[in-house]
Amino acid sequence: MAFEYIRGDTVLHRLDPRTKVLFFLFVTVLSVIIYDPIIMLCLLFVVSIMYRLSKIPLIKLVSITKTLLPVFVMFILLNYFVLPPRGAKIYLYLLPGMAPVTIETTLLGITSALRFILFIWLSRLLTFTTSISEILVGMVKMRLPPEVATSLGIAFSSVPLMISQFSSVIEAQKSRGSQIAVRNPIKKVIAFIPVVVPGIYITILRGMNVAKTVEAKAFTYNPKNRTFRKRIRFRSNDYLFLTASGAFTMIFLVLKLLYGWFDYTFLLRDVFKLL
């Protein structure tokens, strides 16, 4: 479930949410400058170690990855529709005269797919180890107005409820014979209309109810002097973690900018001379 928080007392749980957000940004920078699939795999391995250190059940990581597999394949396939580099050896065409398969486009596709998985793994790691109220306080500390931060917190918290309400809609339509699990994408879109319309209606109602509820709970009374129960502060671990990850990112950035490293064939061709 999106925004699921798994309670714990691990190093990652104890880090300040701002540290985790900054770490997320560092890895985002890394993933943008790195095109080599092997290095991208190494990054994924590091994140999986962090899952382990955070004591997130392995089943969570497996189920997230399983749902991403079709997208993984799609990323690779779509990449064959991008023109390969000049002179690249074409092994075959996926369609007659179209979508040439080359080592370069394959590696690029794999990297794009791995990058997508890395983003999802990281963002889920952030929500698994940070409660919504911590994220909220983190945002306020980063100078976001308390009203905006609280509203975002409410929106995040509403996700499980909305999922459960959409499940009820799906069940209600299944009970009237609606076949949502069709494979044909056009039929699937049509089949989802009976789910989407009541879903939108319920979402609008939910929005109105939330607005009424927060008003009745004195949200607009004095938002600037609101008390936040969660208290966050930078500790030595935060400084250590940020320094290490920041330095690592800087080194990669410098190597990329000065020497052009981490291209999609960096390790295989330039380092190991395999290609």
Binding site: S133, I154, P160, R176, P194, K212, R229
Partner: protein, 582 residues
């Protein structure tokens, strides 16, 4: 402020919602004093929620609309005081618990209001703990509110308003999702808060019999106007039949006494509670000749259950992906012509069990056979030809531009030839009194009519079995009876087998031919309501209570030779009349 000063003062209030041409409240005058517990009741659409929304300034600040007259709350004119400020003094609990839960954990939810008040952290922590202790949910404080049962969500919502320590507490149907014992617990808690904190409590409720002991005053609203006002004794001693006629549920013992008095029985004081009625009816029964008493001989005339089992559940258990086992080793049968009510405390597995009957859920262990089809091996579209499932909330399924299109949805999915649609839809629409709306958009109809459209959209597929999941939640007693009369007509006149889930014991007593009682995923009692409601201890253990009149006859039966299995007021009147009460 002295104890007699007015906390809420309303003079000549008339209010019309934006876009409406008819006022929701008309010329209302009302005064509520500090420390009072006031019960506001009335049929659906009477203006109860609208009236309450003025107490914390949601009207006029949030809803807009046009307002005439004066409303002052704790000395503040609501027109010139912000809703944010009023909310620091007046806390309001809304009707639907799930719609007002906004935080990721129970603890965060309860702390949200106090955090907005800007009070010190230590005090917030103490208030959250104490509010959760009050409603008995301290052990669930780390859970997500969405993972709780409807009853637990209602308790969390209540704790979240208690933690704000308001001077005025406004509760709009705070027990609509609770089982009978849960309801009693909440009302006892409110009585305790009133005594200990001296808070003013305003409750909107249809459950009069549970509140007569704690309410100081009852206000009856109808059509936007105050119809009656006074102490519970004043109102019920004189007007219990009037309330019943307006579609409300006065205490059954008051109604029984009124009915007997109108037939000539000498009843001087109308009782409000079981202890009071015990004295009065003991006096009456002592005067009767001692005639032998037969237990539960009169099974109602419409019973036409046959031996043909159509749904067979054998050793069924169901486990959700999160590990919760909602149904455990259930074995039972449903028969052709059954009219079965399923009852049980919140979270006892009722909905999970019935969802396995049309294949929405597949049993984790055991087998469910529906007309010989094993649900494990059958597709859902095969099963829904036999078993129709009507969901609690009509808005979770309506999507079409017109009611006609909505009703044709199931037929299209079942590939019924198009030339048959018009006849089938016309027949069902007429049966459910929605034929005049066939060209209207479903969302433009009233909630009651939308519910009829939702029921019709299932019936049009002509299933032999109709399952209705809590069809009466949030409805006033008259609407509840209307829905159940509809189910009764489907059963009697159209030969449907009906299975319904409810928390309303009066409906079980009045309508069900058989009932199943569930507790912790298991069926603990099964039989005719006359038999099941004699098992007081087992029912109590699963947070259920027989109807008030049944409890009265149970108590009388311990003293005198009278039937103990009386279920309804009419049955009690007939019985006592047959025993010689004039």
């Amino acid at each position: 402020m002295t104890s007699n000063s007015a906390v809420v003062s309303i003079k000549g209030l008339t209010y019309t919602y934006p876009g409406s041409d008819r006022p929701a409240l008309t010329n209302v005058d009302l005064e509520i004093r500090k420390g009072e517990i006031v019960l506001i009741t009335g049929p659906t659409g009477a203006g109860k929620t609208t009236l309450c929304s003025t107490f914390n300034g949601l009207i006029p600040h949030f809803y807009g609309g046009t307002m005439q007259g004066d409303v002052t709350v704790l000395g503040q004119d609501i027109k010139t005081t912000s809703a944010g400020y009023l909310a620091t003094k007046v806390s309001m609990l809304f009707q639907d618990p799930s719609s007002q839960l906004i935080s990721a954990t129970v603890e965060d939810e309860v702390a949200f209001g106090p955090e907005n008040l800007g009070i010190p952290l230590e005090e917030i922590t103490q208030r959250v703990q104490s509010a959760l202790d009050y409603v008995g949910l301290a052990h669930l404080k780390e859970r997500s509110p969405t993972a709780l049962s409807g009853g637990q969500q209602q308790a969390v919502a209540l704790a979240s308003v208690l933690a704000m320590k308001p001077e005025v507490l406004v509760l709009d149907e705070p027990t609509s999702n609770l089982d009978p014992v849960g309801t009693m617990n909440i009302f006892s808690l409110l009585g305790k808060i009133s005594r200990e904190e001296r808070s003013t409590i305003i409750i909107v409720e249809h459950k009069l019999q549970e509140l007569v002991e704690i309410a100081h005053r009852i206000i009856v609203l109808d059509d936007g106007q105050v119809q009656l006002g006074g102490s519970p004794r004043e109102i019920l001693a004189e007007d219990a039949p009037f309330l019943y006629e307006r579609g409300l549920s006065p205490p059954q013992v008051s109604l029984l006494a009124h009915k007997l008095r109108s037939r000539g029985a000498s009843i001087e004081n109308i009782p409000l509670t079981i202890p009071e009625s015990l004295d009065i009816f003991s006096t009456i029964i002592r005067t009767l000749e001692a005639t032998p008493t037969s237990q539960s001989s009169e099974v109602r005339s419409q019973v036409k259950v046959c031996d043909q089992s159509i749904i067979e559940i054998n050793g069924v258990s169901f486990q959700y992906p999160n590990g919760v086992v909602a149904v455990q080793d259930v074995t039972t049968r449903f028969y052709e012509g059954d009219f079965v009510g399923i009852i049980g405390q919140n979270g006892s597995g009722k909905t999970t069990l019935v969802k396995m009957l049309n294949g929405l859920l597949k049993p984790t262990w055991g087998t469910v056979k529906v007309f010989g089809l094993d649900t494990q091996k059958s597709m859902i579209h095969e099963l829904i030809r036999h078993v129709g499932y009507v969901f609690q909330d009509p808005d979770s399924q309506l999507f079409s531009r017109t009611v006609y299109r909505e009703l044709s949805f199931g037929l299209k999915n079942m590939r019924v030839p198009q030339d048959q649609w018009r006849d089938r839809i016309a027949k069902v629409a007429k049966q459910l009194l929605i034929d005049k709306f066939l060209d209207e958009p479903p969302y433009s109809l009233s909630r009651g009519d939308r519910q009829r459209v939702a029921i019709a959209s299932v019936l049009v597929m002509d299933p032999k079995v109709v399952i209705v999941d809590e069809p009466t939640t949030g409805q006033d007693p008259r609407k509840r009876r209307e829905i159940m009369e509809l189910m009764k007509a489907l059963h009697q006149d159209h030969g449907k087998t009906v299975i319904f889930i409810t928390h309303d014991m009066d409906l079980i007593a009045e309508y069900a031919q058989r009932c199943l009682v569930m507790k912790e995923g298991k069926i603990i009692l099964e039989g005719k309501p006359h038999e099941v409601f004699l098992h007081y201890d087992e029912l109590e253990a699963t947070n259920l209570r027989p109807p008030m009149v049944s409890l009265l006859f149970r108590a009388l039966g311990e003293r005198y030779p009278v039937r103990r299995d009386i279920l309804t007021v009419d049955e009690a009147v007939d019985y006592l009349t047959s025993r010689g009460v004039p």
